[in-house]
């Protein structure tokens, strides 16, 4: 008769085995949970996340205070970009007012989502001097920044962002119109084009989408 107490399946040994197996399974599950990337955010229909985010090339523009505005100024924080022009009476003021409401709502979110910058980029650099932007953009919200530059520098940025703009010649040379993309763009803290939001703009929905995008971005860093 051979008896090996070491591997016996008496009550005590069996319990130890079961505990060991349970611990192993639990450990594998926990590790799986930790290694699993967080689920991509589920956004409203009007928000599109770019996968991967689009890396932008350098550009040299100027803000409404006359300071240089380049790629560096898009880094380290989130940025909302809207395109328009100061001679635009309806859609641009309407959108800037909407952005003001959006900014106030976003300001109530927890950090770091609460502190994006808001940029109004001119698609009419011929008329929109920094001085004119300084009298226009901060009127809607004192933290908003107007951006302009040479026509070629503006094109350099808008092309990368797939933003279209087209001057519509009229019989009044001073009062031409500019057709332009109505989308709102979101740049992430690495300075990459991260998402775009399409009109009609619903600030509650946009705030929720922005919160999801920033939370996901933080989670995968």
């Amino acid at each position: 008769m051979h008896n090996s107490p070491k591997y016996s399946c008496d009550g005590k040994g069996l319990t130890l085995w079961l505990v060991a197996i349970a611990a192993l399974i639990g450990g594998v599950l926990a590790a799986n949970q930790l290694l699993q990337p967080p689920a991509a955010p589920v956004l409203s229909q009007s928000t599109t996340r770019l996968v991967p985010a689009r890396v932008l090339q350098a550009f040299e523009l100027i803000d409404h205070t006359g300071a240089a505005f380049n790629l560096e100024r898009l880094r380290g924080h989130w940025s909302f970009l809207f395109f328009g022009y100061t001679h635009c009476p309806d859609i641009c003021p309407t959108t800037l007012n909407t952005l003001n409401v959006l900014a106030r709502t976003i300001a109530t979110l927890p950090e770091p989502a609460s502190t994006p910058q808001y940029l109004f980029v001119s698609v009419d650099p011929e008329r929109d001097t920094p001085e004119l932007l300084a009298k226009f953009v901060p009127y809607f919200n004192p933290t908003f920044i107007g951006v302009t530059g040479t026509t070629s520098a503006i094109d350099m940025l808008t092309k990368q962002l797939s933003i279209m703009h087209m001057k519509i010649e009229s019989d009044r040379p001073d009062n031409y119109l500019v057709d332009h993309s109505a989308a709102l763009l979101l740049i992430d803290p690495q300075g990459n084009l991260h998402a775009l939001m399409s009109p009609p703009f619903d600030t509650d929905r946009m705030t929720q989408d922005f919160q999801k995008l920033t939370a996901y971005y933080e989670a995968i860093q």
Partner: protein, 156 residues
Amino acid sequence: MKIGSLSAFALFCSVWAATAQADALTVSGAWVREGPPTTQVLAGYAQIANPGTQDITIVGARSPQFDTVEIHRTEIVEGMARMIAQPELVIPAGGSVSLEPGGLHLMLIQAQNPLASGDHVEIQLQLNNGTQLRVDAEVRPDPDAGAGMDHSHHHH
């Protein structure tokens, strides 16, 4: 026959007056959005109703306080925002047309003097029946820019 034609003319006049009365447009809620003090262009909005039985067409607009007034419609087509000048605007019989942000609006170009909230703008709408309709529009801030959060549910 002189008396006869005179009375016919008088009858014509009274009928014409009655028709003109019945065909009047009613304008309500006219306002001009306050802009930055230096702004070159402003937008005016209103509800224009036609309680009459005949369509009335607005064929032009002007204001003594602006160089030019045009009727425009903002459209967003395939992601592009553009403004389309409307040479005329038909207010259908028994119907109404709403001029509102993001849609139809009066484009007020080059104010003679800067305008601020509380100021009034006189707008003259020229109608296809040869008459003019004077509209008083108050300058005020965009209601959407207010503290309220329930602001974006009136898009079309």
